[in-house]
């Protein structure tokens, strides 16, 4: 008889499902939606690339770029926990449908090599370009 009560009860209740495209549930704030990269503090150390299980992150030191393959990313947050400069964070917003496969970010790395020697090199490089 238990089932009959359930069925009769369900007639008067709202449906358990949502009319999806018109009615979207807000994502939980703990949800791992997508990776957000803030390039300001990045030192191009490449730890995120080394830790990434599906090899979704590529750090190219020569071009000073940080690249994420969104289709490969599995939202494990290894890069988020492993970043020494806390550049990578996770947002609870889902990646949009039809998003591009790659997110490429140029890293404005200028201050970091100051402590060593190549400061002179970085200043020389732009000078050399206009002279040509």
């Amino acid at each position: 008889m238990g089932m009959l009560n359930l069925v009769l009860g369900n007639i008067s209740r709202k449906p358990a499902t949502r009319l999806y495209p018109f009615e979207v549930r807000a994502p939980f704030k703990e949800f791992k939606g997508r990776i957000v990269f803030n390039p300001d503090n990045c030192i191009l150390c490449g730890l995120c690339q080394k830790k990434c299980p599906p090899d979704a992150i590529t750090v190219i030191k020569a071009d000073k770029t940080w690249e994420l393959n969104v289709f490969r990313c599995i939202m494990c947050t290894e890069c988020v926990n492993g970043c020494p400069k806390d550049c990578i964070s996770i947002s609870n917003e889902r990646a949009k449908t039809g998003a591009k496969e790659f997110i490429k970010v140029a890293v404005p790395i200028v201050d970091k090599p100051k402590a060593e020697t190549p400061k002179a090199d970085t200043t020389k490089a732009p000078k050399a370009a206009p002279s040509k």
């Binding site: 238990g2 703990e30 791992k32």
Partner: protein, 358 residues
């Protein structure tokens, strides 16, 4: 005269790609020949290319339903290689995650099973309740199915006060709902007609065939790895192994429903005793030596064997999943069963072929 009828790997009732060659005399099965290997992915070899921390994510992908427990068991195996003690809070978090996994897996199975014997509205009912558990898991771990909560050395996600309240509230709501569907599974005349006395396996036979999990306990053997081995902190939480004496499809269903209640109790106990402190210890160096770890999954006992050779990659990973232990029991249960009842009997071992073939 007997005829051989292929059952699977594609079958409308069974989503799992298991193939059974059924030898049939009139309408009754007289012989069974299972064959596997349709969804082999080579995950055990794949770990060669990943380091031991990253392997956890591969292990989670062995199974889509008990992914959390696969990850936790792998972490425990590597921790045994390192011989490190996991913080107590992490152990409690792992128990909470495992038991939530068990609840959602059993609700999923009950739904599929109801669908298997043609009770559609019961199927929807079960999956509706499962959705609440998945919401809780999503808030706890950040993902619905692949949780990535565990890591070598502890847990990577902590529970906040707000999340704990959410879990307790969901469990309070869930318990009466499960009681409602339990009435249908246990007392309904039509359901009993389909299940009682079907696919019977005696206590001794189930033990000798080496079955695991609810298939073993449904035949009256009170064997549960959570009670028999030193497995996280299950001993402190005090729980009862769910057993049914029947040994048929009805008994195995009852065991799974009872396990939902036990899991709810375990989570409540674990939350009430949840200690404060760190959730992970730092792991230094690379694993060496061998280790074997057993754990109780919703489907039964899983065995992890890991071997490290002092490099960042493991030398060998071997997983024995519960379905692999349960498939031979089909050879004992199916003879004598009518062809129309075969899907139900196969469903009661809760086959997970992706697990088995990895």
């Amino acid at each position: 005269m007997t005829t051989v009828i292929p059952f699977g790997p594609q079958h409308p009732v069974l989503p799992e790609p298991v193939s059974l060659k059924l030898e049939i005399d009139n309408d009754v099965v007289v012989g069974v020949l299972p064959s596997l290997g349709y969804v082999h992915r080579g995950l055990e070899k794949f770990i060669d290319t990943k380091d031991f921390n990253q392997t956890m994510y591969i292990c989670e992908r062995i199974c889509g339903i008990c992914s959390g427990i696969h990850g936790i068991t792998y972490s425990r195996a590597v921790e045994k290689l390192f011989d490190i003690e996991v913080p107590e809070r992490a152990q409690y978090l792992r128990v909470i995650n495992s038991e939530l996994c068990r609840i959602h897996s059993h609700l999923l199975w009950l739904g599929l099973f109801a669908d298997g014997f043609g009770f559609e509205s019961l199927f929807y009912e079960c999956w509706k309740y499962r959705e609440d558990v998945l919401d809780v898991l999503e808030r706890f771990t950040g993902n619905r199915v692949i949780h990535s909560m565990s890591k070598v050395g502890g847990a990577s996600r902590d529970l906040t006060k707000e999340q704990i309240d959410q879990i307790l509230k969901t469990l309070d709501d869930l318990e009466p709902k499960v009681k409602n569907i339990e009435k249908v599974f246990v007392n309904n005349y039509t359901v009993k007609k389909r299940l009682v006395g079907l696919g019977v396996m005696s206590k001794q036979l189930a033990y000798e065939a080496g079955t695991a999990g609810p298939t073993l306990r449904g035949s009256g053997n009170a064997i549960d790895v959570r009670n028999t081995s030193d497995y996280d902190i299950y001993k402190d939480l005090g729980f009862k192994t769910a057993v049914a004496k029947e040994g048929d499809c009805y008994g195995r269903t009852k065991v799974r429903i009872d396990e939902i209640y036990e899991a709810i109790k375990l989570i409540r106990n674990a939350i009430s005793k949840l200690p404060e402190g760190e959730i992970a210890t730092r792991v230094k160096g690379f694993p060496t030596g061998e280790a074997i770890i057993r754990a109780e999954q919703p489907r039964g006992e899983v065995v992890y064997y890991v071997k490290g050779n002092g490099t960042k990659n493991l030398e060998r990973l071997k997983v024995r999943t519960p379905t692999f232990a349960n498939i031979p029991s089909l050879l004992l249960m199916l003879p004598g069963v009518k062809l129309a009842d075969v899907p139900i009997v196969v469903l009661t071992i809760d086959p997970c072929i992706s697990c088995t073939e990895r």
